[in-house]
Symmetry: C3
Subunit: 168 residues, 3 copies
Amino acid sequence: MNGVSAERRLAELGLELPPPPAPGGEYVAAKKVGRLLFLSGQGPMRNGVPTVVGQVGRDVSLEQGVEAARQATLNALAAIRAATGSLDNVEEIVQLRGFVNSAPGFDRQPQVMNGASKLLVSVFGEAGRHVRCALGTSSLPHNIPVELEMIVSLRQEFGAQASPAEDS
Amino acid sequence: MNGVSAERRLAELGLELPPPPAPGGEYVAAKKVGRLLFLSGQGPMRNGVPTVVGQVGRDVSLEQGVEAARQATLNALAAIRAATGSLDNVEEIVQLRGFVNSAPGFDRQPQVMNGASKLLVSVFGEAGRHVRCALGTSSLPHNIPVELEMIVSLRQEFGAQASPAEDS
Amino acid sequence: MNGVSAERRLAELGLELPPPPAPGGEYVAAKKVGRLLFLSGQGPMRNGVPTVVGQVGRDVSLEQGVEAARQATLNALAAIRAATGSLDNVEEIVQLRGFVNSAPGFDRQPQVMNGASKLLVSVFGEAGRHVRCALGTSSLPHNIPVELEMIVSLRQEFGAQASPAEDS
């Protein structure tokens, strides 16, 4: 993190996180093992409802896809904050995997996922650079255009706490 | 695990695990790194043959998809037992990722994957709650309706053993 | 690694690694957390251009798909070497996940991914056996036929170094 607060950067960017996502069933939004925090798949949902639906390249424009990736990322950040108390407990964004609901022939998944990647670097700086996998698919839950998942590492101090929250 | 035996719960549920899946080639069913156990993708296979094939929402009903997810989960549990000796060596189910072979327009992948999630919580209790990613796709190996993969964490005592089995 | 050098095996196989892949944006090719090295998705790219495009089972033959999986694997190995200095710093190949751009009805994704799996075992021996997930999808970036990602573990000596390269 280079000593810069991710929470402060988020505020400077004028961004507010939505309420943490509420998983629908038997699963949780985040789970910690050692210093790794695994996150459930996130889409552009607000209050359990998609803000946009359809396939990118047909129903949804590239620009809308980028915005959906940003919204999904904000949901993931909300899950991180809910699980750990603060984005400043993040050491690094390790991995981002994104599935883009793609019209036949649409192959610009990386451009869609850049919406997520750029946001992460804006908030976390160099520590926000991650390995990435951008993929296309033919269908996603609730017909959302983008679903992404992340693994982040937590600061050693946090990992050493006795009873870390493992769930949002 | 809250002190409750997963093996006992499995028996109380009247469930028996199938023979551990035999990977077809150069890969293995499970691999351990530190306290994490990674599992290969599993489908509703028995003795190397799918019990059901096709796309959910067209060839395969939602109910059949749920059952396929359950069967795939039992195969994953068989791989865990084969790799570690007992389900009671599992500390927590960390992550579940499921791909549902989906007819065009089918978007109820979460309901399909609930078949896996509910089974995991039935067997492992609170420790069975995981982060999850439910995804749709247009094709899967052998035309199976569901493929899922898992990461689990192992009890510290087990992780400390000298030569853990890393393969089934 | 059983004391055998992966770099030597690679040379004995007559294989040369391509230049390390250059991620296009805000992400990196490899990232290390503890002894785990996560890798970005790789395709059959050379100098940023796909060597083959299209769906396996329609535009691309099974044999071409296998070769594409091999090329993607060589790119992943190049990323590992760039991030760690040498393939000999790899302890084990932990996980391989491959997405095959599949024509409707194509279900031989495991055969395609065997191109990657066999190469890994050729280079790393027993340590190259991994858990695997072979998946089909309807579209991939740049219309490449195969995209794969890997997690590897690093030798303890390497993991103990003060400032491991985390990026290629």
